[in-house]
């Protein structure tokens, strides 16, 4: 790696941020003008949404299980084991469901997008597409963006649901709680604000995953090694962004709804 002066470094970062913003802006703007590549959107929905279902369900389920198990220990100290359902539901819906789903999909799809677009870039397929008169942002980035935002929303709901179910399984079988009171508590714990908060986060995460994955893919340089680097960077950057934005959205929502 070569070292550059701070000034050059700062310029490079600023250019990157500018390029990223332009790409994201164009990807969104393309949703509102023709042609829209519906077939590509559906293909991406299948690969991102349906393809991620197993890992999202598995992580959601076991996170719910472990949440129940761990919280029971502390709750017993206060004589409040019956509140387990309450805690699992709140944690899953507000925080763990959205964040973990985002991270899992980022690991699976931001990397996939970066490597796919990166390979296309280094083999000049992106240039070929432009030469054939197609806007690669419209054809490649916009469908991925639309599909990720849309599918991540439903994946998160799925994750929340199986998480609560996992918590129930542990509570009933290992902690000896009553199933109906668990679900009753879970249900009562959630208010409108929690659900809104939990469902706003995947919209941001989906945006981050698709735009960051595509940005690194479209800006890949230097052959196969470059593709590998783009893939790694896409996952790292999108994961960090997801967690940072999660914090910001939580703060904003707490500011709006007071919880």
């Amino acid at each position: 790696m070569s070292f550059v002066s701070p000034e050059v470094f700062a310029k490079q970062r600023l250019t990157a941020i500018q390029d990223y913003s332009v790409l994201s802006g164009r990807a969104v703007a393309n949703l509102f003008s023709r042609p829209i590549y519906w077939a590509d959107i559906f293909t991406q929905m299948d690969s991102i949404g349906v393809g991620s279902l197993p890992i999202v369900v598995l992580t959601g389920f076991f996170t719910g299980c472990v949440l129940a198990l761990q919280s029971a220990t502390s709750l017993t100290a206060f004589g409040a084991v019956s509140m387990t359902g309450n805690l699992v539901a709140l944690s899953m819906v507000k925080e763990l469901g959205p964040v973990l789903t985002g991270l899992m999909v980022s690991g699976r799809n931001a990397s996939g997008m970066a490597s796919e677009l990166g390979s296309m870039k280094v083999t000049e397929q992106i240039d070929a597409m432009r030469a054939l008169g197609t806007d690669p942002v419209r054809k490649l980035v916009t469908p991925r963006l639309a599909a990720t935002v849309f599918m991540l929303f439903f994946l998160t709901i799925m994750s929340d649901a199986v998480g609560i179910a996992g918590g129930a399984l542990v509570s009933v079988t290992l902690l000896g709680l009553n199933a109906s009171s668990y679900f009753h508590n879970s249900y009562r714990a959630l208010v409108y604000a929690d659900v809104v908060q939990g469902l706003t986060k995947p919209l941001f995460s989906g945006f981050i995953i698709a735009t960051v994955g595509c940005y690194f893919g479209m800006n890949t340089k230097g052959g196969t090694q470059g593709v590998g680097k783009a893939t790694t960077q896409a996952v790292v950057v999108s994961s960090v962004f997801i967690i940072i934005v999660d914090f910001l959205v939580s703060r904003l929502m707490i500011g709006i709804f007071g919880r």
Partner: protein
């Protein structure tokens, strides 16, 4: 104003009075501080086949991409069909590129699409009905002699076949300008000749303006000395050692034009660098 035979205005008048299809005016471009093209100027007239020669890395592929507006020069203007591609927005360029076919050096086929979908890419984008596009794909694959490869994927093809698919993809929409970037690069002489034959066929049947990069002088001279016989469907030598006068040469070295002219002018050039590049070869 008195005009003499030496006056450029008179000479210009003897030239065909058509607007050039491609014109470069003082184009310069550099990458990472390294100047690749320096103050380059040349023009390509309608129905001309311009062969671009030059050592590896002298900026031939860059020149092609500049022509198609895929990259922008640092300075200078490039006009294609009279439109200034250096000042155009990308979305206007897409319309212009509909009239240009490009064959990339490494073919650049879409590896996740079949040969048929690759070749029909433009037709699918334009919403041409499936029956019609399939028929046109069959026609154009027949033109490049790849009828049997229609359902294959690029990874299943040889380098020469990929090159021909790439040519098919470029010519299917009957463009007014074709850019061939090293269509014979890295191929054996026999396959190269097949591809040169395709280019000659395209030149003599459709009279499309084209730019062609090649490393193989032999291919360049084959292009200049052969014509396509529509009756036999084969390429043949122009009788009486004739030379195709729509074929012209542009030679680059270190970012400058070292030669710009006809085949005869090239072989008669006394410039030592050109003589060396040509390996002192005469037209066989």
């Amino acid at each position: 104003m008195a005009t003499t035979a030496e006056d450029p205005a008179v000479n210009a008048a003897t030239q065909p009075i058509t607007d050039p299809v491609v014109s470069f005016e003082n184009v310069s471009i550099s990458f990472d501080g390294k100047q690749v093209l320096k103050d380059l100027s040349f023009t390509v007239h309608p129905a001309e086949t311009r062969i671009i020669l030059g050592p590896a890395g002298c900026g031939k592929s860059v020149l092609m991409k500049l022509t198609n507006g895929l990259i922008k020069p640092d300075s200078g203007t490039i006009k294609v069909f009279g439109e200034d591609v250096t000042a155009m927005r990308e979305r206007d360029l897409f319309k212009l590129r509909a009239r240009i076919g490009m064959v990339f050096q490494e073919s650049a086929l879409f590896d996740s699409l079949s040969v048929e979908d690759n070749v029909a890419y433009r037709l699918h984008e334009d919403g041409v009905p499936e029956d019609e596009s399939h028929q046109r794909v069959e026609e154009v694959l027949h033109f490049v002699d790849l009828d049997h490869a229609i359902t294959k994927f690029p990874s299943e093809l040889s380098g020469g076949m990929r090159r021909r698919v790439s040519i098919a993809r470029a010519i299917i929409s009957k463009p007014d300008l074709i850019l061939y970037d090293s269509p014979t690069g890295g191929l054996d002489p026999i396959t190269s000749t097949t591809i040169v034959e395709l280019v000659v066929k395209q030149r003599d049947v459709s009279h499309t303006t084209s730019l062609l990069i090649t490393h193989r002088l032999q291919d360049a001279f084959t292009l200049a000395m052969n014509q396509f016989n529509q009756e036999t469907g084969k390429m043949e030598r122009i009788p009486n050692d004739g030379i195709d006068d729509s074929t012209r040469f542009l030679m680059l070295n270190e970012g400058n034009v070292v030669f710009d002219g006809s085949t005869l002018e090239l072989v008669r050039s006394t410039d030592p660098w050109i003589r060396e590049y040509l390996g002192e070869r005469e037209i066989p």
